[in-house]
Symmetry: C2
Subunit: 145 residues, 2 copies
């Protein structure tokens, strides 16, 4: 993939995909959203090879979705925290998960509930101004000159 072309091109979906990385990266962000911060937490949760995890974490830091913070000087130990940009991606992952529940196989799935009321959360994508489901809006794409 010509990452330079897509990274600076006019399509914001392509720009996002370049920075977000692959499925591993998205699962790392998912786990970070659930509170994981340390290398071993990600490694255990994902069953991912250490060298692959290192590469993905480094890329997420380079792309500004996570930041690396030293939490112990001796021995040196780092943790990985979501940046505001990374945190802002979590609702998109929840919307993706809602799609996964609707379309991806049988068997029970995990789901998010309101921590205060226990009510299930069903993420849907709407237009901020009108509140309409975006799938119900007839659309046209405006491409910058």
């Amino acid at each position: 993939m010509d990452t330079e072309k897509y990274s600076a091109g006019p399509c914001p979906i392509a720009r996002a995909l370049i920075r977000m990385g692959d499925a591993w990266s998205m699962l790392i962000l998912r786990d970070a959203g659930y509170g994981a911060t340390r290398f071993d937490q990600f490694r255990t949760s994902l069953g991912i090879a250490p060298n692959i995890l290192t590469r993905r974490l480094t890329a997420l830091v380079e792309h500004g979705l996570m930041e690396k913070r030293r939490y112990c000087q001796q021995p040196p130990r780092d943790e990985y925290l979501l940046t505001p940009s990374g945190r802002d991606l979590l609702p998109v992952l929840l919307a993706l998960g809602a799609w996964g529940r609707r379309h991806c196989g049988a068997g029970p799935t995990s789901h998010a509930v309101d921590a205060e009321t226990g009510a299930p959360i069903e993420p849907v994508v709407v237009d901020r101004t009108t509140g309409r489901l975006v799938q119900d809006i007839p659309q046209r794409i405006v491409i910058p000159a």
Copy 2:
């Protein structure tokens, strides 16, 4: 990635990622959402090598996001159409694009507008029942037993 583990596991985000594929697949779905149906349309739009495009289209068909339909018998020619499952993913891509506009670099980007009113569409992820932005809801994950 252990696709079998994730494909049938309880996390619907992981299930989705396995089926949705990589960045190329998501850009193919994006183009299909904009009306592309034919191999050469995808190839030209994406600047993707034919063998890679073939593999991605085949995987999208296998995973039920697109269907292949013969539109010409002589010579044999196929087109690729979004299934309801594939179409249902487009709002998630729009939400991803909105994130891309907020966080991924400078320079003008394309954006969707209401085809009837011309008003810009700003996709956000909310809870269907309450209409609250999911990022504002304190959450807890329920994992099936």
